[in-house]
Symmetry: C2
Subunit: 253 residues, 2 copies
C-alpha cells in the first residue's frame, strides 16, 4: 500500500480523504488538522494530528490548505527529501520549501462541502520536479480519476484563470438572469433546461460553433429592445460589453 | 385528433413537427414552407404547401418563422377568427394580426439543427387572449412537455433577455476560457467537468449560494495575479467588470 499523509481539513482535504478511502492501493495513514473534530467523521481519531512535528513517515504528503498558508506549512515540515505536493490551482510549485522534493496534485473541480463528487471525472493536474516523482504521482492519480494531465505551473495558472471565466463568471451570469427573472415575476426555473443544454452543447461542439443569439447574428433590433428593457445600469453595461465582445470575436473567426 | 398546421420550416418548426409526430392527440395535417424540399424528410409531400392561400382548416396554426416575418405572415393568412400563435421569445402577441384569435407557444430552449431534443424537458411558455384558447393551448403543450408555464408578453421578454445572459453570454465565457487555454497550450477539455458541475450546481442551489471564486472572497492577491497574467485587453476588461459586478452584488446580499 502507498502511504499518504493529508495536511489540511478543508473541502479539498476531505474530498481527497473520502476518495482515497475507496482505493485499495492508497492508505491515508494520517491527516493534520488544527482541530481534530473537523475530520473525526472521516478518519479514526488516532490518525489525526494537530502537530506538524508528529507527522508520520509516508510516501507522499499532500498539502491541502488555503493558498496563502502553503509556503509556511511546507517550511514547517520537520523532515527533508520526501515528496510534498500541494493542491492549489493558483500557487506556483516554487512556493514549496526546497528541503523536500516538490510537486502539484491539483484537482480541477469546484468542491462544495456537502455535495458528493464522482472523483473519477475530476481532472487531476500533476507536476513534479523529477520524472520518477511524476510517475509515482501519476500512479496515485490514476487510481482516483480517469482524467490525469501533466500540467506545468504556467499552464496551471492559465487553467485557473480560465476556470474563473467558465465557473465563477458563468455563475454570476446565472445570478444576473435570476435577478432579471425576479424583477419581472418569472420563475428562474424556466431557464434551468436552457442552462443545462448550454453546458451540454460544449461537450460536443466548440464554443465558437455553439455561439448563438442576437449578438453573433448582429440582430440590432433585438439588441436595442433588450437594452431598452433593462433598467439596471450594471445589467445594461454587462449586456453591452459582452455583446461587443461576441461581435469582435466573431469578426476574427 | 387535434389538427395543427405549422407555418415555417426552420429549426423550431422542424422540432415541433417531430415532437407532434410522437403525440397520439395531435395531428400535423399540413406545413407551410417556401421550399418543399426542406420538410420532405419529416412530412409527406402532399402535406407541405408553398402557398399561404392553400392553408387547410385546422384547430391551431403555429407560426414558427423568423421574428421579423411574424407580423407579415400573420396578416397574409386567408382566414379569420381562428387560433394563431407564434413561437418567438422576443415578439409581442400584438404583432399578430387581430383578424384571428392570437396566442404564444414559446419553447424556451436552444435548438440546434441536428441535435435531438427531449421535448418533455423543454419549457413551453403559453399566452393567449382568452381563457378558452389558453386551456386549449395548455392541453396541446402538456402532450409535449412536463414544463408548461403561463407567461405574458412582458414576462416573456424578461425571460428572453435572461436567456441571453445564461445561454449566449455564458457560451461566450466558454469561448474566452477556450482562448486562454489555447494561448497557453492547455487542452480546453480539462475544463469540461467544471463546466458541467457549474451548471449542475444551479439545479439544486440558488446562484447566490453557488457563487465561489476570488471575486466573492475578495481575494485581492489572486485577482491581481490573474490580471497580470491576462495579456489580451478584452479579456482583462471583462475580468475586471465581472469581478466588480460580483463584489457589488455580494454587498447587496
Amino acid at each position: 500500500m502507498i502511504q499518504v499523509v493529508i495536511i489540511g481539513s478543508g473541502n479539498v482535504a476531505q474530498h481527497l480523504i473520502k476518495a482515497f478511502a475507496k482505493s485499495s492501493k492508497i492508505d491515508v495513514i494520517q491527516a493534520f488538522s488544527r482541530q481534530k473534530a473537523v475530520l473525526t467523521h472521516l478518519l479514526d481519531s488516532k490518525k489525526i494530528t494537530t502537530d506538524l512535528n508528529d507527522l508520520a513517515e509516508a510516501d507522499l504528503y499532500i498539502i491541502a490548505v488555503s493558498d496563502d498558508a502553503i509556503a509556511a506549512v511546507s517550511s514547517q515540515l520537520p523532515f527533508e527529501n520526501r515528496l510534498v505536493v500541494h493542491t492549489s490551482g493558483s500557487v506556483s510549485i516554487n512556493a514549496l520549501d526546497k528541503k523536500n522534493r516538490n510537486g502539484i496534485f491539483y484537482p480541477l473541480q469546484s468542491f462544495s462541502k456537502n455535495a458528493a463528487i464522482d472523483f473519477s471525472q475530476v481532472p487531476l493536474c500533476l507536476e513534479s520536479e523529477n520524472e520518477a516523482d511524476f510517475e509515482f504521482l501519476t500512479s496515485i492519480a490514476t487510481t482516483l480519476s480517469d482524467k490525469v494531465y501533466k500540467i506545468n505551473s504556467e499552464q496551471r495558472k492559465a487553467l485557473h484563470v480560465s476556470a474563473v471565466f467558465v465557473n465563477n463568471f458563468v455563475n454570476h451570469l446565472y445570478q444576473m438572469g435570476n435577478q432579471i427573472c425576479n424583477e419581472n415575476n418569472v420563475p428562474f426555473e424556466v431557464l434551468k433546461p436552457l442552462i443545462q443544454e448550454t453546458a451540454n452543447k460544449i461537450m460536443k461542439l466548440s464554443p465558437n460553433e455553439a455561439q448563438t443569439g442576437p449578438a453573433i447574428r448582429n440582430d440590432k433590433q433585438t439588441i436595442t429592445s433588450h437594452l431598452d428593457f433593462l433598467q439596471d445600469e450594471n445589467q445594461k453595461k454587462i449586456y453591452q460589453i459582452l455583446t461587443q465582445s461576441i461581435q469582435n470575436n466573431g469578426k476574427k473567426l
